[in-house]
């Protein structure tokens, strides 16, 4: 099973709480492809959504979206990375999403080094790292964080000296998220 991420950006508001025909089409189609929806994160302005699935491959999710008429901007297979030990729970009232794009990719060492420094930096600012999704080609990262506001996250990244993180700051997107679960 792969972990598959679907990114959607639309001009129209996304209202997942209302069951629509397109959902009624897509859900069984995903199911037939042995694909299980885990949960989604919806931006508070309702124009951006990240959905996560357990699926045999990215194409299974892509086909279900295409066939069902679901909108998406990007679909990719990735892996999940989370803090060791007790994982903080998503705190819906202060849940934030950070998205980073690294066109040239990054190495595992880059990631570990950044974590070593940035996690205490987060802790100082009252930011809790919940988990991250990293694309298999390591060009894309989506992090879930419990943080008082988006600006604190941006600040933490900007103040940080590691090039890998600085690079992300240039193409980063941070937003408040609503959690939508099955």
């Amino acid at each position: 099973m792969s972990l598959v991420i679907v990114e959607t950006t639309t001009e129209q508001s996304i209202t997942p709480e209302v069951l629509k025909e397109v959902d009624a089409r897509m859900l069984p189609c995903l199911e037939e492809r042995n694909t299980k929806w885990r949960y989604s994160l919806l931006s508070s302005d309702r124009h951006r959504m990240i959905c996560t699935f357990d699926a045999p491959d990215a194409e299974s999710v892509r086909q279900a979206y295409r066939k069902g008429g679901g909108m998406y901007s990007r679909i990719w297979a990735g892996e999940i990375v989370a803090p060791e030990g007790i994982q903080p729970q998503q705190n819906e009232t202060i849940l934030k999403v950070f998205e980073g794009t690294y066109p040239d990719g990054f190495t595992e060492e880059d990631w570990n080094e950044a974590n070593q420094y940035i996690l205490p930096c987060y802790a100082e600012r009252g930011i809790e790292w919940v988990r991250s999704y990293i694309s298999l080609d390591r060009t894309r990262v989506i992090c879930e964080l419990n943080a008082p506001d988006a600006e604190t996250i941006r600040e933490a990244h900007l103040k940080f000296g590691i090039p890998f993180v600085r690079e992300a700051c240039l193409q980063q997107r941070v937003w408040s998220a609503m959690l939508i679960e099955p």
Binding site: L19, E32, R33, D57, R66, P120
Partner: protein
């Protein structure tokens, strides 16, 4: 050496170091600080964050100062504190590797170990350990916010552990231990209804029914007091079952009597008149039904006639044969489902199924789909209306499959000439889907009346064409059989049964058993009737009944269906005790008889529908109207509690001349039909309701008329009807506007929205505005329902999975779409894929081309691409790679028009590469490798396995075994990852062939054995099935050669 620090947070704070109790950490805040750190030990925590959590009400500065003070106390009080605490200016951490134990961690570890274990005894031991460790809730004396969240998480974990343990103990039949844990569960959560059910079941299983019943009463009391609700249907049924068991103590305590039930005829067979004649027919039916007791595999392979149809004139004995079949199969422990059509209920959606299912449901029916609640509201209505008809159909089919897996199942449907359209569609669906299970269907129908019901006629026509229908036409009895019938039923005293009497009965009745019995009864009575008319004979017999019986009969006849005494008493205002006496008399006179299809409710019906008709026709027109009016008004009092009665109320109100009640209940009934996707019934009801509107006063008329027009619009209309409908809506809307009826105007607007949406669907465009209008209407229109069915069906078909269901869904979609002249590319593509799967490439090509044209018109580029790829694959499999190329090229052009990152371009390129590789074009090998790499990159495993299989086949043909093996191996992995049965089988077969070509016999044998039994041949495409059969034959030869060699050597 340091001592162990023991920390307990469950049930209260406790701390010890070695053998010594640590009491210095006694205040709430100190305990809280320690608890916070120890529960967040996996990472260092900032002082700011801790201070915020522990003193949320204080200012930052104050909170930090408090933290400093508490930290100092903690470090002082905690023995050997540096071993456990790491402190710096900004951060604090409880060191996870220190020498300490924590009950919360041990509890979580035990639960996790139980989750990961597979051995039941290990699971039980771990769960018992977890429950032992959970001494109480987390820090119950503290109520900080972060503690509450953590406490709840652990509570839920504890409850789940208890529930799981009770289930395991029940499985292990350790009921006493299970009971003590069940009671524990209830002490924690006294509103846990599932726990009450577990206890009732466990007490029942351990033979203590009294306690089981007490638990039910306790459950009922608690739920009523706390929540003001009654126990759920499941709990009630469990209680009823326990009660019923309680009523049969003799059988339990007197084992020598336990064999009695099998020696005695069943209750139903006691009620039957003897079966006379019909030897040939009965022998055939028995033979046909015996298949149900064969193994399911045999039934699946011998699918020639899973449906039996008995046809003949009224009274010829069709139902009697069906009853005989029921008695016989029940004696063999088969389950029987009995449904009955009624002429008055042809617009009651799924009526025949609702009655049949309701009669057969019992408490052991676990896993009932929520959608079944649409048909049987007593199960609880699903919270959300369904958009997808297949959910409703599947709910019924799943229940039938569940029953069939427990015991062979026989579905008997009497008088299907009166079945409603929705019931017919469901019957067809169920027949298709249950083909592989031990399920048989037997129906009866009147000759001559079947043709009037186009829906059921269509189903029978398809079944006949597919050779799944066996029809028996019942002929009249001969003279001897007629004589036997009279003799056996003792309609005439044996002393008076002369040859002349037999001749007369035979000639007058023409060998019709019902007629023969009426004549015989007349001849055997004090006042024989000379007529040859069955109606007159029945009427004559009715005249001989006493006044009370004759007074009651019109009510029973006007009800139009089988009835319960309580219903009859209510509608006729007749006292129940007196009524029961009358019923007894009518039963003795063979006018009515108990309805044996309901296992738990006493019901009656006329011995034959002809008797009902005779009684009904005897009523004068005004009397008939009054009877119906009273029935309608009495039944309407129950409408709020049970809206399934709406169609009955509408029927009686219409015949009773109450136009307002008729129009309003017709509207309710029609709306219910929409919820159940019964569009034909909804449309007919709407038209009927509109007729009643004309006589109503303005406001009521406008409201009901617009509501009915809206239902009609949703149910689907042709283009011509739509024009008229729109004009009617507009006219009523302007009337509503003049009268200031804003709400009614809104209904009209919605109706117009629906009409526009459906009309635009014909042209293939999707207007989100009108789509919203349809969504607002809360019902799925036929076009929505057809689209969803087509979508689900094509989804399955294109995946090559569950093709029987795919085809059934697509055919139902086709029939719905045809109602409103809708063309859907998903239907053509889905059915095309079914043909492709079955190796019928010419048919597949035609349908896929049709689908492709529709997708082009609709400018649905993705579908266009998908269909072009299927067409290319069809050509490749039909052995014409050159013909695949134009499709691939066209696909590449369309793919470029698709927005968003996709895989279409990669798929087109890979199919081109494969076609060229098969055609041995230059550079093909290199391009193919590139295409495969791209498919891997976009993570499209199905297409990857397809292309690799195609390439491996080519390699094998061209004597490149190493390449064959490498490609087949990768293809197999990809196909397994996405659970693609045909891909797995093909890759496996080619892999073994490749290994054989390499001379790797042992390896080939090992790989062959590894998957042989896992491949289910009936799920495979024709191509894969052929490859599997070929490889099995080939390997059998290899195995035979090897064993010959080894026996020679030995």
């Amino acid at each position: 050496m340091s001592l162990t620090l023991r920390i307990k947070l469950l049930g209260g704070f406790f701390l010890s170091y070695g053998e010594r109790l640590v009491t210095a950490i006694s205040t709430g805040r100190s305990q809280m600080l320690l608890a916070y750190l120890v529960l967040h030990r996996q990472a260092a925590q900032s002082r700011q964050r801790i201070a915020f959590h522990l003193w949320p009400e204080s200012t930052d500065e104050r909170a930090r100062a408090n933290l400093r003070k508490e930290l100092s106390r903690l470090r002082h009080a905690l023995p050997n504190s540096d071993e456990f605490l790491w402190v710096d200016a900004k951060m604090l951490q409880w060191l996870p590797n220190g020498n300490f134990t924590l009950d919360v961690a041990e509890f979580e570890a035990a639960v996790k170990a139980a989750e990961q274990a597979t051995d039941k005894s290990v699971i039980r031991a771990e769960l018992e350990r977890a429950i032992e460790l959970y001494k109480g809730d987390l820090l119950p004396d503290l109520d900080d916010e972060w503690v509450l969240a953590e406490r709840e998480r652990l509570q839920q974990m504890h409850v789940r552990a208890l529930e799981r343990l009770v289930n395991i103990l029940e499985e292990q039949q350790d009921y006493q231990t299970a009971l003590s844990y069940g009671q524990h569960l209830l002490r924690i959560d006294r509103l846990n209804e599932a726990a009450y059910c577990s206890l009732m079941r466990l007490y029942g299983l351990s033979g203590d029914r009294a306690s089981a019943l007490q638990v039910y009463h306790q459950c009922m009391t608690v739920l009523r007091e706390e929540l003001g609700v009654d126990p759920s249907w499941t709990t009630r049924r469990l209680y009823e079952q326990l009660l019923m068991e309680d009523e049969q103590p003799e059988c339990q305590v007197l084992p020598r009597l336990s064999s009695l039930p099998t020696l005695l005829p069943s209750h139903s067979s006691l009620l039957l008149t003897p079966l006379v004649g019909r030897e040939q027919e009965w022998a055939f039916i028995r033979q046909w039904a015996s298949r149900i007791f064969q193994s399911s595999r045999d039934v699946a392979t011998d699918a020639a006639s899973e449906v039996l149809l008995l046809v003949g004139e009224p009274g010829i004995g069709k139902t009697r044969l069906l009853e005989e079949l029921r008695a016989t199969t029940q004696a063999h422990n088969a389950r029987v489902l009995w449904g009955q059509g009624f002429t008055a209920e042809m617009m009651r959606p799924y009526g025949i199924w609702i009655d049949a299912l309701r009669a057969s449901m019992n408490v052991s029916d676990a896993n009932i789909s929520a959608e079944l609640g649409f048909l049987l509201p007593e199960l609880g209505q699903p919270s959300q209306a369904s958009f997808d008809l297949s959910h409703l159909f599947d709910a019924v089919v799943q229940l039938l499959a569940q029953w069939a897996n427990q015991a062979p199942l026989l579905v008997l449907l009497d008088d299907i000439q009166w079945s409603d359209e929705a019931s017919s569609a469901l019957l067809h669906y169920a027949i298709r889907l249950l083909r592989s299970l031990p399920v048989l269907f037997a129906c009866t129908a009147r000759t001559g009346e079947l043709e009037d019901n186009s829906a059921i006629s269509r189903v029978l026509q398809v079944l006949r064409r597919e050779q799944r229908l066996q029809t028996i036409e019942l002929k009249p009895l001969d003279r001897e059989q007629t004589a036997d019938l009279i003799r056996n039923t003792q309609a005439i005293a044996p002393s008076e049964l002369s040859l002349a009497v037999v001749n007369r009965v035979f000639i007058d009745s023409g060998g019709n058993p019902l007629f023969a019995l009426e004549i015989a009864r007349s001849l055997g009575s004090a006042r024989p009737n000379q007529t040859r008319n069955i109606e007159v004979l029945i009427r004559d017999r009715l005249h001989q009944l006493d006044d009370e019986a004759r007074e009651i009969l019109p009510w029973a006849a006007a009800l139009g269906r089988n009835f319960q005494p309580t219903t009859l008493a209510r509608v006729s205002d007749y006292p129940l005790p007196q009524l029961l006496k009358v019923i007894e008399q009518l039963e003795q006179q063979t006018i009515i008889r108990p309805n044996t299809s309901h296992s738990d409710r006493l019901g009656y019906d006329f011995v034959h529908d002809i008797v009902r008709q005779v009684i009904y026709r005897q009523l004068s027109e005004p009397r008939r109207q009054l009877v119906h009016l009273q029935i309608a008004r009495k039944l309407s009092q129950q409408l709020i509690a049970d809206n399934t009665l709406a169609d009955e109320v509408a029927h009686h109100a219409s015949l009773g001349g109450d136009h307002e009640l008729a129009a309003s209940s017709t509207l309710s009934a029609a709306e219910r039909c929409l919820k159940l996707f019964a569009y034909a019934e909804a449309a007919k009801l709407a038209q009927r309701g509109i007729q009643h509107c004309q006589r109503l006063e303005a406001q009521t008329r406008i409201r009901l008329h617009l509501g009915l027009l809206r239902v009609w619009a949703i149910a689907g209309v042709t283009r011509e009807q739509a024009i008229q409908l729109e004009a009617d809506v507009q006219r009523l809307m302007s009337e509503a506007s003049e009268l200031g009826l804003k709400d009614d105007e809104a209904i009209g607007l919605e109706a117009i929205g629906v009409l526009y949406f459906n009309q635009s669907s014909f042209a293939g465009a999707h207007h989100s505005h009108w789509l919203r209008a349809v969504e607002v209407s809360r019902f799925a229109s036929p076009s929505t329902a057809a689209r969803l069915l087509a979508f689900s069906g094509s989804c399955l078909a294109e995946l090559g999975r569950d093709m029987v269901r795919a085809e059934a869904l697509l055919l139902e979609a086709q029939s719905l779409a045809a109602r409103i002249g809708l063309q859907l590319c998903d239907i053509d593509s889905g059915l095309g894929s079914v043909h492709y799967h079955n190796g019928r490439y010419a048919e597949a090509r035609t349908l896929l081309q049709q689908a492709q044209k529709l997708a082009q018109i609709e400018q649905d580029h993705w579908r266009s691409c998908a269909y072009l790829s299927y067409l290319a694959m069809t050509e490749l499999e039909a052995g014409d790679p050159a013909a695949a190329l134009p499709y691939c090229n066209e696909m590449a052009i369309v793919a470029a028009k698709i927005q968003g990152e996709g895989s279409e371009g990669a798929i087109a390129a890979s199919l081109v590469a494969l076609a060229n590789y098969r055609l041995q074009h230059s550079e093909a090998s290199h391009t193919l490798e590139q295409a495969i790499a791209t498919l891997q990159q976009v993570d499209a495993k199905r297409m990857l396995s397809y292309v690799l299989i195609g390439a491996a086949e080519t390699d094998l043909e061209r004597d490149r075994p190493q390449l064959t093996v490498a490609r087949a191996e990768t293809a197999l992995q990809a196909a397994q990852a996405i659970d693609y049965p045909s891909g797995i089988a093909l890759a496996w077969a080619i892999l073994i062939q490749g290994l054989l070509a390499l001379g790797e016999r042992e390896l080939a044998l090992a790989r062959f054995e590894a998957l042989r039994d896992k491949i289910e041949r009936h799920t495979l495409s024709l191509r894969a099935r052929t490859a599997v059969e070929r490889i099995i034959q080939q390997m059998q030869k290899v195995i035979a050669t090897s064993s010959r060699k080894s026996s020679k050597n030995s």
